[in-house]
């Protein structure tokens, strides 16, 4: 899937961000962001979307990869920070609870949010959270990052950057750069991290950055290690609003 088409269709969406060095940008919805990166082979947790509770429940029923317990989130172009607004419901056990959650989430939408939908994905299990991302650097162009992630990512600042695109060797060296190497060993009953799978995810993410015109940044945060393999459970892409 090519992002350009997504860019073009939604230029009327209100801009959500104003970046002082670059001018105006917009963020894609989580669902759109997930589809773009997944199109390049970046692993994301299985998900479906819908604009009503009925639509969501039907979608969950028809998609065998999405299994309870699930997480439901209200997402849309103008919604970049869901947690802060209470737009995320975790550990939903069954269809009845999901219906209630969908109704509540859709009820929280405000006119400024524009078009919204509910995204439902399987809860994935893993104690270790990485962050991966892209950033269009004013001096070096598109860069790709991996780091120790989750809500503490910006406090820990254990990250490594490269210029996109990257080779598998580059990606392996990015992991070697991180100070927190113990994260990749066996950890609290979870297996050793599958470095090759993380490397593949980073190479794929860097390709998104190198090939998608107009992309400014991307966050996969967190990128959870599930049985040692990376899986993005959130994605946010930021693009130029002028095309």
């Amino acid at each position: 899937m090519h992002v350009g088409s997504i860019w073009a269709r939604h230029l009327a969406v209100p801009t959500s961000l104003r970046d002082t060095t670059h001018g105006v940008s917009i963020t894609l919805s989580e669902a759109e962001s997930r589809r773009v990166v997944a199109g390049y082979g970046v692993p994301v947790s299985p998900f479906v979307t819908g604009t009503s509770a009925d639509e969501v429940l039907a979608a969950v029923d028809s998609d065998a990869t999405v299994t309870y317990p699930v997480v439901a989130k209200l997402c849309g172009r103008a919604i970049a920070h869901k947690t802060e607004r209470g737009l995320v419901r975790l550990r939903i056990a069954d269809a009845d609870s999901l219906r209630t959650a969908c109704d509540e989430l859709l009820g929280k939408a405000v006119p400024e949010d524009g078009d919204v939908e509910v995204l439902v994905s399987s809860m994935v299990d893993g104690n270790r959270e990485l962050i991966a991302g892209l950033n269009d650097d004013p001096q070096f162009g598109m860069t790709v990052m991996v780091g120790v992630g989750g809500i503490l990512a910006e406090a820990i600042r254990d990250v490594s950057f490269r210029l996109a695109p990257i080779s598998e060797v580059d990606a392996a060296e990015m992991l070697d750069d991180l100070a927190t190497q113990r994260l990749f060993d066996e950890f609290r009953g979870e297996p050793k991290a599958d470095r090759a799978a993380i490397i593949d995810a980073l190479v794929a993410l860097a390709r998104v950055g190198a090939e998608e015109v107009g992309l400014r940044s991307a966050d996969l945060n967190p990128l959870i290690l599930v049985d040692g393999k990376p899986m993005a459970v959130d994605a946010l892409l930021e693009i130029d609003s002028n095309g």
Binding site: Q139, F161, E173, R216, S217
Partner: protein
């Protein structure tokens, strides 16, 4: 790619703005070119003909014989330099070092003057270094074409710097350590030739084994990355960056953007391109000096050899924040060493000889360690202490009686021998051997550092600094090996 051979190996040099005042740039440059032993022809130019430093000063570049000079060194103000460059080009000049200021650094008028300077050089096919730079040094040409000191001993390190001050710093360190330099250039305003151009020249230069650069600003980082990556595959490039601690505070919409400090991105670019990034100027020079004089290690396993205790412990501690691994001694190596030392030796890495060495012990143990296939690098500590004792005896009130003359001679010969053994064994085994003692700075005349210096080898001033250099060699070796180089 610009041909910079006339800049670094000119057959003759025209210097503009020469005066008989020894405080002026033109005079100092002429002095330094002559004092460094430059063997080509030198043509000082001034408004008033006369004589400076025994040379006839010409009143005009028109008086220079055709083809006699291919480089012009400019110490004259911007207003007249375009005309001078035209005259110089007519005589066969293909390279210019413009030391003169008054260009981009001097406001809008200077910006325009610099644009005209660039235009005229492009039109005339002149490779332009500077303007507003301190000069160029080339030891194969015995040339110190600089408005300041120093010159440096010949060697294999090539230097390019966005700050002339650090050219001087690196050259001072070359003089101090004895590990010499092939070329050095201050980029000045770098209006045409920049760091990447110099690196391309150095990488193709048979006189150069390693490049050493100081960078403050990277205008087009992506272009620089694309240009230097193929170069670092051929020869190591050591980089030290000024302004590295300034966080790139940008309004960022993403976590990734918020984490993308200038330094984090620059650092990642260095790793990706195979650039060896040092933390400061001293570390950068020492890394370059080590690249210039030691074989690359084939891995990260390091054995520390020390005459006595604490130094070895500190060396192992210093490895903690590096990629180096203080490897346990392999059984066969331990047994071989055990046969050479009294029972009180450490029987571990660091190899603490516990003062048990006799006449041949240090070279024998170095040989055993360096030739072992499971050892990638060696750090030798504690040399020079015998000569330090000898120095006190030599200066004390009892010398040369009481047998002191004989023992002093023995001590000094031993330290010389250890230093020579380190060089020979390293060359023979292909294993880098670092030698470190603070005597390198506290008493450079001590035979331990003095012999290292005589061999063109760096004597590090501390175990920690030796470890940093070895870390950089091992990092570059790993970068190469991961790419099948």
């Amino acid at each position: 790619m610009a041909d910079l051979s006339a800049l670094f190996d000119p057959r003759g040099i025209i210097i503009t703005g020469v005066s008989n005042h020894p405080g002026k740039f033109g005079f100092v440059t002429l002095h330094n070119i002559l004092a460094s032993g430059y063997e080509g022809q030198v043509f000082p130019i001034a408004r008033e003909p006369g004589e400076v430093l025994g040379l006839d000063v010409l009143g005009s570049i028109d008086d220079v014989p055709d083809g006699a000079a291919d480089m012009v060194f400019i110490c004259t103000p911007p207003a007249i330099n375009e005309g001078l460059l035209r005259q110089a080009a007519a005589k066969g000049v293909t390279a210019a070092f413009c030391a003169a200021g008054g260009y981009r650094e001097a406001g809008q008028e200077g910006v325009e003057a610099e644009e005209r300077l660039v235009d005229v050089c492009n039109e005339l096919g002149i490779a332009l270094a500077g303007p507003n730079g301190q000069g160029v040094v080339s030891t194969p040409a015995k040339m110190c074409a600089q408005i300041v000191a120093p010159y440096a001993p010949p060697g294999k390190i090539a230097i390019a710097s966005q700050s002339g001050n650090f050219v001087s710093s690196f050259l001072n360190l070359a003089n101090h350590t004895g590990v010499g330099v092939s070329r050095a250039v201050a980029a000045g305003n770098a209006s045409v030739l920049g760091i990447a151009d110099y690196l391309e020249y150095f990488t193709n230069d048979p006189e150069t084994a390693v490049s050493l650069v100081y960078i403050e600003s990277v205008e087009d980082g992506r272009e620089m990355f694309e240009r230097v990556r193929p170069l670092s595959q051929r020869k190591p490039i050591v980089v030290v960056k000024g302004g590295a601690s300034a966080a790139g505070a940008r309004a960022a919409a993403s976590h990734t953007g918020a984490l993308a400090s200038d330094d984090a991105v620059f650092d990642g670019m260095c790793h990706q391109a195979g650039l060896i990034r040092a933390r400061d100027v001293e570390e950068a020079f020492e890394a370059a000096a080590t690249f210039a004089s030691q074989p690359l290690p084939s891995g990260d396993r390091v054995v520390v050899v020390t005459t006595v205790g604490g130094w070895g412990v500190a060396a192992v501690d210093a490895m903690a924040d590096t990629r180096l691994d203080p490897t346990p001694l392999p059984g066969d190596l331990l047994a071989a060493i055990d046969a050479k030392l009294p029972p009180r030796w450490s029987k571990n890495n660091p190899i603490d000889m516990a003062g048990g060495e006799t006449r041949d012990t240090v070279p024998e143990i170095l040989q055993l360690v360096a030739e072992h296939p499971d050892v990638d690098g060696v750090v030798l500590l504690g040399t020079g202490i015998q000569s330090n004792t000898a120095a006190m005896m030599r200066r004390g009130p009892f010398f040369p009686e009481h047998g002191l003359e004989r023992i002093v001679g023995f001590h000094e010969r031993q330290d010389t021998r250890y230093a020579e053994a380190a060089t020979e064994i390293s060359a023979a085994t292909g294993t880098p051997i670092m030698v470190a003692t603070e005597l390198a700075t506290t008493d450079p005349s001590n035979p331990a550092p003095a012999s290292r210096r005589a061999a063109g080898q760096l004597c590090h001033a501390s175990a920690g600094r030796a470890i940093r250099s070895l870390h950089h060699l091992a990092g570059y070796a790993a970068w190469r090996s991961a790419r099948g180089l």
